[in-house]
Symmetry: C2
């Protein structure tokens, strides 16, 4: 089996990770950590969310963060757009980022619980938002949550998920991220899923966003890679994600994902020790141990003696 | 890709796991936990080691444990045999177990550090021990440590590892376990490795023993499964293993491995909630949180609403 030679990893810790931190993180600390991640080689970072500040106070300094970070010109910064009002606010500072992500849950129940609307209503809004994002010359990415299963509804039909993806693509999204929101994917299904997604979505960047809820996150990433997926999202220090069931881990850890890819000869363009340093710094900022494995074990040293 | 329909999992926590616990575990607790594991459906359990009691005091009650556990007749109990003296002691209670495991490290340096002998000397002894084990009517299993890489020597040649395996098989071993002692395997290599091992060792049971040192343990297990491997070892609660580098996790967690297999439709014959209960009981006995994911997240409930 021939694996892809290289992949792109978007670091989502500064948005998806920090969002779940109960203690407010200083803007200075956020800026320093994002700058460190850019220095480590990430060319895609999710930095902010234009959600209402009273809903997620942790991310209310998003515009400050976007304005103050100093990253190389070739780094693409992504922001999450929850609704048209959020898009209005984002477009007021459109020069501060490159890609806007809109989203829906593939499961009706999860979508209602998450954004209090039907999937149909959410998609109608997403169509309009996608066109506005594209018209502004920004990259439009779409995220489909609960793509591999829903904690309320159980199995989510593959055709339904890919149908939503096609609609996003028609509206102008050039990247579709498939989220395993509560860690229900398994590697056999992940492999089938990404083979089907890549076939059904020609010309669209297909992104895998796995969680490590039951420890299978990297196995799922390996299966997606085998199927030809070359775009991944992960979070340094294994920060954040959706801690459902309560207490479980969320996102897969960036440093563990990079370690696996590099050990297989798959290039990421990212300096693993520098990511581990950034995760160590995040531990200091947050005042607690983070759960990634490479944070403890470090990269493999093949020349030890 | 067609996956095997069923696998065998040997639970190694009572030996490989407990061995690494610094606080002495009561014999009563060990017996209760092993009985619970047998009730959960394991048909292979590694229970004891005939190592010198002063070297590993934690396992010095091995004969008591073997005599006091009450497990169904079809459960095969394995003991680890470090040397001829250990085999002498084991054979005095040969009616208490079914399989004896002998071992070597594929890496010369690791073997010297682990047992203070050359690989050649260890293998000469292993030849003799294998013949004695077989002559007693016991099952003879062999374990090759550092099969996927050595923390001292780096890469370990595949041919060297499989050569050792063939020698074990010639001496009478009917099962060869390949240990990723310090978590240096990656899924691409694990897939290649098990494809080669299964081809080179016809009629021998080929067993995968992965560690989760850098979070890739289940990805490696998935790759081995894809290659046709149907025999695995793991430890409930993610107990034990070789914590090198210091602080890292060791064995893959049995409950996470079972969750992955069951979600893919691969039968294990084991009751996942019962394994999670046993791991919870181990947490109580050890007085600390264990690190498996399913211990927190539980099995996936596809019928939740």
């Amino acid at each position: 089996m021939t694996l892809p030679k290289a992949v792109e990893i978007r670091e989502v810790g500064p948005r998806d990770g920090f969002q779940n931190e109960p203690e407010r993180i200083d803007t200075d600390d956020k800026v320093r950590l994002i700058n460190a991640l850019a220095s480590a080689g990430f060319r895609r970072i999710e930095v902010a969310s234009f959600v209402r500040p009273d809903v997620i106070p942790q991310l209310s300094d998003g515009v400050d963060v976007l304005r103050r970070i100093e990253v190389p010109d070739d780094v693409r910064l992504m922001v999450l757009i929850p609704n048209s009002k959020g898009l209005d606010n984002a477009l007021r500072v459109r020069e501060t980022f490159h890609d806007a992500a809109i989203f829906v849950s593939a499961s009706e129940t999860h979508n209602r619980k998450n954004v209090n609307r039907t999937v149909a209503d959410t998609m109608a809004d997403n169509d309009v938002m996608a066109k506005r994002i594209v018209a502004e010359g920004l990259g439009c990415a779409a995220v489909i949550a609960t793509s591999f299963g829903c904690p309320y509804e159980g199995k989510v039909d593959l055709d339904r998920v890919l149908g939503l993806a096609e609609r996003f693509a028609e509206a102008g999204a050039t990247e579709i991220g498939f989220g395993d929101t509560t860690g229900m994917a398994n590697p056999a299904y992940a492999g089938e899923f990404f083979a089907a997604a890549l076939e059904r979505l020609p010309g669209v960047e297909v992104t895998a966003h796995f969680h490590n809820t039951r420890g299978q996150g990297l196995a799922n990433a390996y299966a997606a890679l085998q199927a030809g997926c070359t775009s991944f999202e992960s979070s340094f220090g294994e920060l954040g994600g959706c801690p459902v069931p309560p207490g479980s881990t969320g996102n897969i850890a960036t440093e563990d994902l990079i370690s696996m890819f590099h050990e297989m000869g798959v290039d990421t363009g990212i300096d693993l020790p520098a990511v581990i340093s950034a995760a160590q710094e995040a531990q200091t900022v947050l005042g607690r141990k983070l759960t990634s494995h490479c944070l403890v074990a470090g990269p493999i040293d093949w020349h030890a003696n």
